[in-house]
């Protein structure tokens, strides 16, 4: 299937700083691609080049096979941008904002009116459509911001950290809306520094740091591809030879390492479910009673930590 977005070897410098360094991304129809990275990683710069707001120093961007440039109006018409900051006229109502941006996209008349009603319904703002944006809460402004981006039914929706500073309820609503858009066949490029958002809604994830795309794939591919192990902390009753024998038995399992603790053992393994099952079975054999288990499954945070040596979030 032809990719909706295809960008290859994008580079952008600001003076001596290389903000984006050889980034290549491809997003297929119906796919939600997450660009995950800390603040200042180069996500917004990458998006600005994709939307034709910044000219790359080198590399290319194609949307629906057409090259993107500041003057490529036809290709840009296929993109819907939801900027990181609220890019709306605060003294106008949500409907007035939608009418203005819709007309700039070439929508008019009844088609525009009905489309406005649809997107207001999707973002849950239909009953507040006539109120000025400046009277909205932060979450409502974010949702109105998204409504403008998807108004003209773009083939590619680009969302730049759309949930920053949003309350949990609004965040949930936004994530549900984005997930629904992906399901409807729209290609979505979603940047975030919230690992759980990327895990929840993205089909594929690119991890970006210091301007470079350092890893890419599905969540499972990223976690398993790096060989990141699960951690299982087991608390066991009793002690003495039985506990020692139980630990030795587990240590003999392929791919499992055992660290003895006062209350039991810390296990490191690739498959936490299987290891936990074996740990219970061998505890029964050696008459060791297990009083508690804590499983830590590796996530994108761990992947990022392993790749860069630093935490994903700095807040």
């Amino acid at each position: 299937m032809t990719a909706v977005l295809e960008c290859a070897h994008l580079v952008r410098n600001f003076g001596d700083l290389r903000a984006v360094d050889d980034v290549s991304i491809s997003v297929a129809p119906g796919e939600t691609y997450g660009l995950l990275g800390p603040n200042g990683a180069g996500k917004t710069t990458t998006i600005s080049m994709i939307c034709g707001l910044l000219t790359p120093n080198s590399g290319t961007v194609h949307v629906l096979g057409q090259p993107i440039s500041p003057a490529a109006s036809a290709a840009k018409a296929a993109i819907g941008l939801v900027p990181q900051d609220i890019a709306l006229y605060p003294d106008l109502s949500a409907r007035e904002n939608l009418v203005f941006f819709g007309r700039l996209q070439g929508l008019s008349g009844p088609a525009l009116d009905s489309r406005i009603d649809e997107v207001l319904e999707v973002v849950g703002l239909r009953d507040r459509a006539k109120d000025r944006i400046e009277t909205y809460s932060g979450g409502m402004k974010r949702r109105a911001n998204i409504a403008v981006g998807m108004l003209h039914s773009p083939r590619l929706l680009v969302l730049d950290e759309p949930t920053v500073g949003v309350d949990p309820q609004s965040r949930n609503s936004i994530l549900e809306s984005v997930a629904a858009l992906g399901s409807s066949g729209m290609a979505v490029l979603y940047t975030t520094h919230y690992m759980e958002e990327a895990e929840r809604i993205c089909d594929r994830i690119g991890i970006i740091d210091a301007g470079r795309l350092i890893a890419e794939g599905t969540r499972a591919e990223l976690v398993s591809g790096l060989g990141t192990a699960s951690a299982v902390a087991v608390r066991a009753g009793g002690g003495g030879p039985a506990l020692e024998a139980w630990r030795a038995d587990l240590a003999a399992l392929p791919g499992v390492t055992v660290e003895a603790t006062d209350a039991g053992a810390n296990l490191t393994c690739a498959d936490s479910s299987a290891t936990v099952a074996v740990a219970f079975q061998r505890a029964s054999t050696h008459r060791v009673s297990i009083t508690g288990i804590e499983v830590t499954v590796p996530d994108l945070e761990a992947v990022f930590l392993q790749l860069t040596g630093k935490a994903l979030r700095d807040d």
Binding site: C51, T55, L81, D85, Y89, Q105, H152
Partner: protein, 400 residues
């Protein structure tokens, strides 16, 4: 779904700008109310409470000769019937000291003094001086008095030549002529003395001077704010949102420029309409007024665009606008309109000065639309050059 044409984009951008500006009540105050109120207040202050200039100017004839008496009589005859406007009062035998006392005690607003020996100096072909005594705080009345003095001086120069020629011709013909009779006859010629500067003519309404003057000062602020909206949109992200779609930079720039022009035109046209209909101020030939308004708005729009193009932030743009507006208002004569000195010399080189001169000529009834065409062309040229530079600078800022 087809992307709209550049013109449609410009129309949409300009329409939105106007809608947002006209919704803002503070803009309405700047656009219409403030210029009209300030014109009323300042016009009233200069004219003692009404819209037209009123002044008593004493013509102190210390020389008290038939020639000077004839001159004084000629000027006094210029007073407006019924005692309104500027009234010239002949004061035979009054010397400079007494005239000064009269001005200081507010018996007279200004005085023109024909000193002792004036006629003798004229007859002898020497330079004859006429003194003006005025209140430094009342420049317009002093200006009228100065105009009278200049008119007298000019007339005297003409008389001197005419008298000399007459006497020489009489001598050649062998006819005996008394020089005093010739000089007096020349001085008493009907209509010989007129107020040379029509800007200070009796019937000239000060509102017709201050209304466009004030409106143009506010025009800088109003149009500056409109042009600055581009910087605001850049900061708020709406500009990027437009540019991320099929909207072209040209469409946005055209729309912004059109919005600035429309707001400026609305402002000046509203001030014209309110002062003309509400206060019966005669701005002169309507076609001429319309041409000057349009060209002045284009010139000031050019300045606003260049400021927007050069400024990096809204605050920079605002500060530049205030400085430019005040400097140009002073240089262009919006506050103080003098006929001599540095300010008078630089006035034609400022857009508001050009416009103000054209407005005052039209209001004085001395100019038609055709007469103000040179000023209109200068203003249009100014607007084209500054606007062009401004748009190029803004466009350069858009392409990153």
């Amino acid at each position: 779904m087809r992307a709209p044409s550049v013109l449609t984009q410009a129309w949409l951008v300009a329409g939105l700008d106007l809608k947002r500006r006209l919704r803002d009540r503070s803009v309405l105050i700047q656009v219409v109310l403030a210029p009209v109120l300030l014109a009323l207040i300042i016009g009233g202050a200069f004219s003692g409470g009404s819209g037209s200039l009123k002044a008593n100017i004493w013509l102190a004839d210390a020389d008290n000769s038939p020639t000077s008496a004839a001159m004084v009589a000629g000027i006094a005859g210029q007073s407006e019937a019924g005692g309104g406007g500027v009234v010239f009062i002949a004061k035979p035998g009054l010397d400079a000291a007494a005239a000064r006392q009269a001005v200081d005690s507010n018996q007279a607003d200004a005085a023109v003094v024909i000193p002792v020996g004036f006629t003798d100096a004229v007859e002898a072909g020497k330079a004859a001086e006429v003194d003006v005594i005025g209140d430094a705080g009342d420049e317009i009345v002093a200006g009228v008095a100065t105009s009278i003095a200049e008119a007298l001086a000019n007339r005297t120069q003409t008389q001197r030549v005419a008298t000399g020629t007459t006497l020489a011709a009489a001598a050649q013909l062998g006819v005996g002529v008394d020089p005093r009779v010739v000089v007096a006859a020349a001085g008493s010629t009907p209509g010989a003395i007129t107020v040379r500067d029509s800007r200070f003519e009796n019937k000239y309404s000060l509102m017709a001077f201050f209304a466009p003057g004030m409106a143009m000062i506010f025009l800088f602020f109003v149009m500056g704010a409109a042009a600055r909206s581009l910087l605001t949109e850049r900061r708020e992200g709406t500009l990027a949102r437009m540019l991320a779609g099929p909207t072209s930079p040209s469409g946005i720039l055209l729309g912004k420029a059109a919005g600035v022009l429309a707001l400026g035109l609305t402002s000046l046209l509203a001030v014209w309409a309110i002062t003309a209909l509400g206060f019966r101020v005669d701005w002169g030939d309507p076609l001429g007024v319309l041409l000057v308004i349009t060209s002045a708005v284009i010139a000031i729009a050019g300045i606003s665009l260049i400021v927007t193009g050069l400024a990096r932030t809204e605050s920079q743009s605002q500060q530049l606008t205030v400085v430019l507006a005040l400097v140009l208002a002073i240089l262009g004569g919006s506050f103080v309109y003098t006929n001599a000195g540095f300010l008078a010399a630089v006035r034609p080189f400022t857009p508001n000065g050009q416009a103000l001169m054209a407005f005052t000529d039209l209001a004085a009834g001395n100019a038609s639309a055709a007469d103000v065409l040179p000023a209109v062309l200068i203003l249009l040229g100014f607007g084209a050059v500054t606007g062009g530079i401004g748009l190029v600078a803004i466009r350069k800022g858009l392409a990153r």
